[in-house]
Symmetry: none
Subunit: 218 residues, 2 copies
DNA sequence: CCCCAGCTAATACTTTGGTAGTAGAGACCA
DNA sequence: TGGTCTCTACTACCAAAGTATTAGCTGGGG
């Protein structure tokens, strides 16, 4: 593959020092460009939705909003960015949950810089990047559970929120939705706000697009 | 994209001569491989179900079983093969019926061989292949019935309007669109107003939904 | 019993979206 | 040359969307 265009990356991590390190590392790699940094989940989600990076490096352990929550919101949202977890924890549960939730990679912060860059390139090519220990960990998890159900992806929109999402995707205004459901417009606004938050989106337009591309999935 | 693997094709046509011609043509194209030939509908259906080709070339006018019947059976069955009609008839009715029945292309036998191969590659990439005359024919059919569809879809959209429509469908605000296109927000508003008028819609939400459901069509 | 989640509703405020009218610059065509 | 089209840009105004906060009501579970 010819990497003519640099990978555009957003980092979501609450450690400034680590972000600095990644910055420096990226400057040595012409095929990797860090276009944004966020030190919290919500901020990161907003940034991803705005910048639409090729890749998101996401820390697992953050105050305020857990990295896994951020991951699910990113993956359920309009974003098509690939997401790689970058963390110190190789707890089996976290690894499994992250991958189930759609993570495109799971790397540990103790990796050598050159290895890390190599892994990021692999992700850019569509592969799943795992630290060696993580791979082992994953194998064990697989053995442990054999064959069981797949696809949790609960996506906890309430009935009412789903209903309103459908109306949004049909181009209806809050006022019209309110009238057809016989509730107040202010109530519709509340539901809209909640479903936007849950989907990790910012406007009803994104919600409408999400709804038509993921219909049947909510 | 990645043409590493050749397209596996089955031909269903009752003219041995034409089949021979396609064979020779395929031998000159390393990315296209004919893995089976059938000279009747029932035989073709059986063959498709067994070989599961990437692509089926299907004649419309065959004795015993009409090509459209074969098409509907293939599309209603377990097969995931793409089906391209290859025929001498460009009767409007046939074209419309075939496409409505799920055909992935409609080509005429008088095409130049190189053109034909090109169209088949387009189908492999997920596009719909039409002979030029067929496209015209289809356009006429649309005009004829366009009254009730709420979709004027004359597609008068200018380049700029198309561009902005795409940004809308990605959930971007007028302000963001203005910034990325390096024009004023007021100008974006003008374009939005025009494209809404042309599409017969009232809000950008409807436009976004229209765009994602009719992508490639504008 | 209380607590919690979901639905309802309101107020007040800021931002964004959409309409209307005007107008200049550049391209193209007759 | 004049006419038309596209893109650009502005002003002004009103409608719609979204945020923030508070709060009453309900049903189910610990």
């Amino acid at each position: 593959m010819n990497a003519t265009v640099a990978q555009r990356i957003v980092i979501i991590d609450d450690h400034p020092l680590l972000r600095k390190g990644l910055q420096q590392l990226a400057e040595l790699s012409p095929d990797i460009e860090i276009i944004g940094e966020a030190d919290s989940g919500p901020e990161g989600i907003a940034m991803v939705n705005e910048l639409k990076p090729d890749l998101v490096l996401l820390d697992l352990n953050m105050p305020e909003m857990n990295g896994l929550e951020v991951l699910t919101q990113l993956k359920s949202g309009a974003s098509t960015s690939r997401v790689v977890m970058l963390t110190v924890s190789n707890a089996e549960e976290d690894v499994v949950t992250a991958l189930r939730s759609g993570a495109d990679g799971y790397l540990l912060k103790d990796m050598k810089p050159t290895q890390l860059m190599q892994k990021l390139r692999e992700v850019a090519e569509g592969r799943v990047a795992l630290s060696p220990n993580v791979a082992e960990c994953l194998a064990r998890a697989m053995q442990a559970e054999g064959a069981r159900d797949t696809a949790p992806s609960t996506l906890d929109l309430t009935d009412r929120e789903c209903e309103i999402l459908i109306h949004i995707s049909e181009g209806e205004s809050n006022k019209v939705i309110a009238r057809t459901l016989s509730i107040a417009e202010s109530t519709v606004k509340v539901h809209v706000k909640h479903l936007l938050k849950k989907l990790g989106l910012k406007t009803r337009v994104e919600a409408a697009v999400w709804a038509v591309t993921h219909k049947d999935q909510f």
